[in-house]
Amino acid sequence: MGIAMKNLPRVLCPIFMFLLLAAAPLSAFAHAEFQGSTPPANALLDDLPTEVILRFSEPVGALATDWLLPDGTRRDATATAGPDGLSLSAPPASGRGTYVLNWRVVSADGHPIGGALVFSLGEATGMAPPDTPSSAVPAIIARFLAIMSMILALGATLYAAVVAPLSPGAARRGQGAALAAMPLALIALGAYGLDLLGRGSRDLLSLSPWLAAVTTPRGWGLLLGGIAALVAGCHWRNRTPVAFLALALGAVSLAVSGHASSGGARWIGQPLMAFHATALIFWIGGLPPLLAGLSRPDGLTALRRFSHVALPAVIVLVASGIGLVLIRGAGPSALIASDWGKLLALKLVLVACMLGLALWNKTRLTPAMAMSPDTAQIRLRRSIGAEIMLGALVLLVAMCFRLTPPPGSETASGPIYLHLHGSEIMADLEVSAAPPAAVSLSLTFADTDFGPLRPKEVSLTFNDPENGIGPIRTSAHLLADGMWQAGPVTLPTAGPWDIRIGVLITDFKQATLNGTLTPPNGDHP
């Protein structure tokens, strides 16, 4: 220990010097410039290259390089600095289609620059959306367990606050669920990260799946759910406000994840989902404490009080559920044709069974329990038990929506038109097809008074921040009719793609236009 302490300065000083050296050039100016690649961008090849070279104006170090393969999976690429630039290992052969090398390098000044090299083998296909990778199933199960545990914890607290005191068993199970929710949420977070990146479980030890997961709404929604359960499990003394705080957190945690959080109808979809979640937490979460409390002397009173609150909850659940389907804007035929619609149908059948049981409980078994408690109690127990099982199944089906995009978010082909407006100029843009595809672009420019504008040069930059691809750069050339033409440039994913257009107006003046190329879909804003 003493020796280690004495040696500390000797160890720390070089580290400190090193950090100083490393930090100093951050303020200087010197970005390396990308000068081209072998194979060139957008090349159509007959054979996969044995190595890929990226050329830069000065030596660079590789920060991150990975391959996106035609089947939608990602693989790390090994980079070695060579005399001609950065040499990268060949992509793993995975058939015909579009390959993307995503690179990020750092030049002398510590300024990272990045880009994406796109080329195709045989034909340009774009990335297939990864179809149900093996990582999806663990992610679904882990998320189901985390959410179920949160619902049970919240349900018990709510039951105690609104319906009746918990039986000792129910209280213990509620506490257990509250304690389990956070660890389960963390497991679900890791599994979701692996699913996002399409990686195997050994990558859990690295940072990237966690980062990928926690930066998405669904990722921090999971953590929020864990926090909601902890809040529910903590304070049992003054429980009513705490129960409602936990309920609100839990509802938000479900509302920010899922398909309701994407698409143009997000501002209606998320509040609807929050209502949906509130009702389902109360209903499904309240059933186990109800079941446990049946044999207590106040069992019948509790049953009546529960059914009193459950009725409006079910109405909210059904109404918000219908709303969530309607904002998808998909017609019945599109619904029936899609896998999403089939899953929805399964979910509806299960919900209908739950409603049937609930109705039977309310209209038959509850009055019967008042008459002859012993026989009715057994049947009521079975019925509520079945309702809980069905509720869990419904939730599991709901998690499986992850596997199928909702109708309306499928991409349509055909040109996309964009109008981009800057402070000095504007542009009309026609994109030949919806990505993923090799797209051509036609551009016309005008000043903000709709007067003609003849730029000297036009360059385009594409970025897919969601999938971490890009920037992909290309330049446009002027046609005889005054229109500018760019491409074909391969945009390998559905996007959304950020487009930045640099327009050189005079030799010394450049204007920049920004826009987003979103997949056209049935979402009505």
Binding site: P25, F29, P59, A64, A81, A108
Partner: protein, 174 residues
């Protein structure tokens, strides 16, 4: 791990390799002072030699005189100022708007292109005045013409125009 090491090495070895962007040797000057601007050109266009260096003189910088360079022809573009300026009792309404050096600078070499000019008091202290620079080569051009928008970090620009930060006028001068 290997990539991390490469990166760290690149970072640590980097102190000497500044000035790949075109930039001023002295990037700040007092308001009202006469300034000797030296713009460094650190590389050509994607490996090609630079054949022409064009510097735009912004409004508020007057009485500009370029420094000639051996081997380079020099051209001066004049025009009207947007405002008129008092220059030692004379009202100046026009003057140099652009400087053009034509010659050849190989990609592997570094050189400076200089001019002298007065930074008038219309340039507010605390602001930065930008001199857009265009480097022309046989295969195209490098344009150092991006001016950061308000609140934007100049380091975020790919091709920033070289700038001079205007400081408070000094009291020691004449």
């Amino acid at each position: 791990m290997k990539t991390t090491l490469t990166t760290l090495t690149a970072l640590a070895l980097s102190t000497s390799a500044a000035f790949a962007h075109s930039s001023f040797e002295t990037p700040q000057a007092q308001q009202g002072s006469t300034y000797l601007g030296k713009i460094g050109i650190g590389h050509g266009c994607a490996g090609e030699p630079t054949l022409k260096v064009r510097v735009q003189i912004p409004e508020g910088v007057i009485a500009v005189k370029p420094v000639p360079k051996a081997g380079w022809t020099l051209e001066v573009v004049t025009g009207a100022y947007e405002q008129s300026y008092d220059y030692y009792g004379t009202q100046l309404t026009e003057g140099v708007k652009e400087l053009i050096w034509t010659g050849e600078l190989p990609d592997a070499y570094f050189d400076q292109f200089a001019f002298r000019g007065k930074l008038t008091d219309r340039l507010a202290a605390g602001t930065t005045v930008y001199f857009p620079v265009v480097q022309e080569c046989a295969n195209g051009a490098e344009r150092w013409i991006e001016i950061p928008a308000e609140g934007q970090d100049p380091h975020d620009l790919e091709d920033p125009a070289p700038g001079i930060k205007i400081t408070e006028p000094g009291h020691g001068g004449h």
